[in-house]
């Protein structure tokens, strides 16, 4: 109540001042309204939290510098609590009540897929921050996304295997959504790289021992092991493989791309290869890498304010700036014009890679967006 009273008071003072100066007709430029639905709380909060922090940090910074061409940016954000059903309600509110010009968000694949029909129906450009390839395949007119897909991770791994002459691969995967999707993409993609999947084992994400599955794998003629997983599972697989004396090359997915994995798997992690976003090795990239300055700038800014960066916040950075650059090029707040310009994004250097979108490709990243890393002496090493 008191909040409202002060607001009214302020408003009346403003009106009075404007009246006194005879400036009643002058209006500030319409703000750019960016809507966002993120999973800041709930099980997916480790994804949504750095995303929101990233958006807020850059919106505040741009506004402090006067906005874009005099337009301030207004970030309208709702927290779906990691619940896809809530995300649908919030996206309706963003479109109908808040009248946003563009939506950046949708932390999980579930929430993003649920939000798509609303954005498509109302004709609002929507840049998703979730992983599933289904968000942009098949292409939907108003929907784009910035994070790498599990399909790309599988392709990157198979490419590396082909380079090393590996033809027979044992697949092992966890029971979560990420793991299952990664397993399906790997199975589908393997033939394209001339790779035969000779074992297809699974484990439960809360399991404490995978030696039984790995013993089965040891009995096959596999030349390498690929684990798609997240959380403790991959670390246990890595340790168990070493315990069983399996010396085949071990590949992990980008699901383990954090220092925590090295810490948990310890010595057993030596030699493990994985595809990862360049943000993880920003300092180690060669100086002529186009992404290096972008990554270092984002990393320093974020870490100065909030602590260690994650690639998830980076996806929000990419989404925000793809949207803002499109609005800048469109020189208009017309949703259709913004959409067209997002689709014309070329050579945008983000944290996830260099984006080149087209009417056929609403992600715009190629395999160079992933870097193949190997763990040596408890640290990441670029192996390309």
């Amino acid at each position: 109540m008191s909040g409202r009273r002060t607001f009214l008071k302020k408003a009346s003072i403003c009106v009075a001042a404007a009246g006194l100066l005879g400036l009643g007709g002058v209006q500030a430029a319409e703000p750019i309204r960016i809507g966002s639905v993120l999973s800041v709380t709930g099980p997916a909060s480790f994804l949504g939290d750095p995303e929101l922090k990233t958006l807020q940090m850059y919106v505040d910074e741009i506004n402090a510098k006067g906005g874009i061409d005099g337009h301030k940016i207004e970030l309208i954000h709702y927290d779906d609590g990691s619940d896809a059903k809530k995300a649908v309600n919030f996206v309706k509110r963003l479109i109908q009540r808040d009248k946003v010009h563009v939506i950046v968000g949708g932390t999980t694949s579930g929430a993003s897929l649920a939000m798509i029909p609303e954005a498509e129906g109302a004709g609002v450009p929507f840049i998703s921050l979730a992983g599933s390839v289904k968000i942009v395949e098949p292409v939907k007119k108003w929907v784009f996304k910035t994070p790498h897909t599990d399909k790309m991770a599988a392709a990157k791994i198979f490419e590396d295997m082909r380079r090393r002459g590996i033809k027979k691969v044992a697949l092992i995967s966890g029971s979560g959504g990420f793991d299952k999707s990664g397993r399906a993409e790997s199975l589908a993609l393997a033939p394209e790289y001339g790779i035969e999947i000779v074992a297809d084992e699974t484990y439960n994400n809360k399991d404490t021992d995978m030696t039984a599955q790995l013993t089965r794998i040891r009995a096959t003629d596999a030349e390498a092991i690929l684990n798609f997983g997240f959380g403790t599972g991959p670390a246990i697989v890595t340790k168990n493989a070493r315990q069983l004396g399996i010396d085949l090359p071990l590949y992990q997915s980008h699901g383990v791309a954090s220092k925590k994995f090295i810490e948990l798997a310890g010595e057993a992690a030596e030699g493990v290869r994985l595809p990862a976003a360049a943000l993880l090795v920003a300092e180690k990239l060669p100086d002529n890498d186009p992404q290096k300055p972008v990554l270092l700038a984002y990393k320093r800014k974020y870490e100065a304010k909030y602590g260690p960066v994650s690639t998830f916040g980076g996806h929000a950075y990419d989404g925000l700036f793809i949207a803002l650059e499109a609005i800048d090029r469109a020189n208009s707040l017309d949703r259709a014009k913004i959409r067209d310009e997002i689709e014309r994004t070329r050579g945008f250097v983000g944290t996830g890679g260099v984006f080149n979108m087209s009417p056929e490709d609403h992600l715009g990243l190629d395999l160079s967006a992933f870097r193949m890393l190997e763990i040596r002496n408890g640290d990441w090493v670029l192996v390309e």
């Binding site: 439960n204 809360k206 039984a212 013993t215 089965r216 246990i236």
Partner: protein
């Protein structure tokens, strides 16, 4: 094939030993009060988490292990004093619901203190695998099996040979009669909670180097330990141990010989079959209600 089989069995016994320790904790409290303590899994998690924090503070591993076990034992006593004792006279079901509440509370507190991160304890004696025939086992797994065996034996001797152990059993048998012959029933109950918490915490610190720990690690271990106790017969501590080993073996052989996809389904299927054929568990005595 035979050499694979050996590995499956070794794995099964290792994993089963953990389930056995957790199951033993369930059986202890059930023995003293007919209550299934659903916070048992949280004792496992707490023991490991406290030990991780102590190691993190720079203390040597043995100190951390003892500290984790001691702190968890205190939590077990506090649980009994603050939540179970005030509800004296309440039905068994009510008490079980209290323990469910306690498990949620402990998980929440752990989340507040340690966050969502996953932690590991260092291995007690190195990570170099030991070969047993064609199978390999980690030194830590030997620790798990050895300590489990010692504790199982100690619990057995406690109930069979000591006055205190018999007093606990007497409370379970007939609370009023036990009180009449001068047994401090309340003290025995506190004692069984302390012992259960201690056993859970020991399981937690033993497993943390292999299986890691996090705020919600107790859920799955608690469930498996409960299954072990049910499988063996809830009122029989040695049954819980046998149930744990059996469950570990079923899981490992199921994953190894059949398919890893059916591992958990197989374990639960066997538990269901046992409960249908022998509702009191493999080693349980059929309950006799006297009117």
């Amino acid at each position: 094939m035979l050499e694979q089989l050996l590995q499956f069995v070794v794995t099964g016994i290792t994993v089963g030993s953990t389930y056995a320790l957790v199951g033993l904790g369930f059986a202890l409290i059930y023995n003293a009060s007919q209550v299934v303590n659903f916070a048992q899994g949280e004792f496992v998690m707490l023991g490991a988490m406290v030990a991780v924090s102590i190691v993190g503070a720079g203390a040597p591993l043995p100190v951390a292990v003892l500290g984790g076990v001691a702190a968890t034992t205190l939590v077990g006593i506090a649980l009994e004093k603050l939540a179970i004792e005030p509800a004296r006279g309440a039905s068994v079901i009510t008490t079980i619901i209290i323990t469910i509440g306690a498990s949620i509370l402990l998980r929440g507190v752990a989340l507040l203190i340690w966050g969502k991160d996953i932690y590991a304890l260092p291995h007690f004696s190195g990570e170099e695998p030991i070969a047993i025939g064609s199978a390999t086992v980690l030194p830590q797994s030997l620790w798990v099996m050895g300590v489990a065996a010692v504790l199982v034996l100690a619990v057995r001797l406690f109930f069979d040979r000591t006055m205190l152990g018999k007093a606990v059993l007497a409370c379970a048998c007939n609370r009023t009669a036990a009180q009449l012959v001068g047994i401090n029933v309340q003290l025995m109950l506190t004692l069984s909670y302390a012992l259960s918490a201690m056993l859970g915490a020991v399981a937690g610190v033993l497993v943390a180097p292999i299986a890691f720990t996090s705020w919600d690690a107790g859920v799955m271990l608690g469930l498996k330990g409960f299954s072990a106790a049910i499988l063996g017969g809830m009122g029989n501590p040695m049954g819980a141990v046998a149930g744990g080993l059996l469950l570990g073996l079923i899981e490992s052989l199921g994953a190894g010989l059949l398919s890893s996809g059916y591992k958990d389904a197989l374990a639960f299927l066997i538990i269901l079959i046992v409960l249908v054929v022998r509702p009191s568990g493999i080693f349980g005595r059929a309950a006799v209600e006297r009117v």
